[in-house]
Symmetry: C3
Subunit: 182 residues, 3 copies
């Protein structure tokens, strides 16, 4: 802070790198990269809600004309604008989007916390930024091959495993750094 | 920190506002406001768990007297204190509370991360505080009209949309600030 | 930072304790303790995904020999490597693991946020560290008695209640500190 020191940065004799003052600012390139990709993933997750609603309403609107064929996919009674539609829970398209959304919550939300606390260990900047990029892109691919356009199996499991492995790697780094505080 | 400078705060010649040292302290009014309303929302979410349990036990306790009429709503076998109750998953009151709880997870948890990283961009204090207040109150209304006392449709979708729009606005602000770190 | 001051720390005349510069660094023992146990819980949650997949594949692999007895538990059509297996959603072992996983999301994810912002109120170090330890161990016990080896009821509700009470305690502390920013 204040005036930058002219003396070279020296590693203390015990071999640990001194932790910088504050890593959670826009001056930290890693934090900025996290901010950008976390924002993308938050937006992607919220779009899943809208995609679910869209799936429900698509059938709803389609159904306005042929009364008999109308799909019955609204889970709550007050969502039924027409009394002759029954509550139903098993529309396959809606359920697929909801499973993808749940999978997002299971994986992306722990990743948010893990990546945030991983930044506090002051990791190598290039490694950290690339981990954030790969993990985020993998989840976008996961959504595409799961909820938007179903694709045969190895694709989804690879996309799923990519973020999982990255999160486990971050967990290992953080756990090793803080093992003495068990 | 230390003694406050008497010199006026000057914007650097490149036009960017200098980022302050640390925004995640109790000295930052925006962070304190986030703390308060995030706490309220966390408490609200945890009360949903208790509300679900209450719904299950209400029928349980009611059922103690008329053995035949007792509702069978416990999902796990070890939750059945009486052997003649079967496992069941489709009690409408319990399922409604659980859908509301799931909707909370889908929307409030990403909002927590988004609002936290939005603070790091040092937003206008009044705008940020009011966004936190409106978003939190909207979700409380959402729970009331969804899980506690069902109300006809426009109310719930408005409450849902309010936090969704606020989260998207924060995402846009953060993404624009960090676009160069893609 | 730099050289420690020789002057005694004095409480300002208004009675508030001065907040230290930055609590979210590896210099703060409470934050390190949070890092370690949050990492453990993130790893535990991600293992639930793998446990679900394992449950699905266990039956899958077992089923390879006796074609007629093979369990049908894959929710998506593209997961069916053999055409004569139908999509099914109600395998009791898989559903139990998934309920445990959902319960994790409902409780651990809000706890992550709550504990993180609780640190910013600069709590007593021993109290905070022990809260993190007890809450995390309680959730590990919860997973064991729920998803791995089902145990009669009082055990699961005690493990569930422990983290719930700790989260409510943290919420009360934070809310009282920030009540003026409502």
């Amino acid at each position: 802070m204040s005036a930058p020191s002219l003396a070279p940065i020296t590693t203390p004799s015990n071999g640990t790198v001194p932790t910088p003052g504050n890593l959670f600012t826009l001056d930290n390139r890693v934090f900025c990269c996290y901010l950008f990709w976390a924002t993308v993933l938050v937006a992607k997750m919220l779009l899943m809600s809208l995609l679910t609603a869209l799936q429900r309403f698509r059938y709803k609107l389609l159904a306005l004309v042929p009364l008999k064929l109308r799909r019955k996919i609204f889970p709550n009674e007050e969502d039924l604008f027409f009394k002759n539609i029954e509550v139903q829970f098993d529309d396959p398209h809606v359920e697929r989007v909801r499973r993808a959304h749940r999978n997002d919550m299971e994986n992306i939300l722990p990743y948010f916390i893990m990546a945030l606390i991983y930044i506090s260990t002051n990791p190598n900047q290039d490694v950290a930024c690339n981990l954030f990029r790969v993990a985020s892109l993998a989840r976008i691919v996961h959504t595409l091959v799961y909820a938007v356009y179903p694709v045969p199996q190895p694709s989804r499991i690879l996309a799923f495993g990519t973020m999982l492995l990255i999160t486990f790697y971050m967990a290992a780094v953080v756990a090793l750094r803080t093992l003495s505080f068990i």
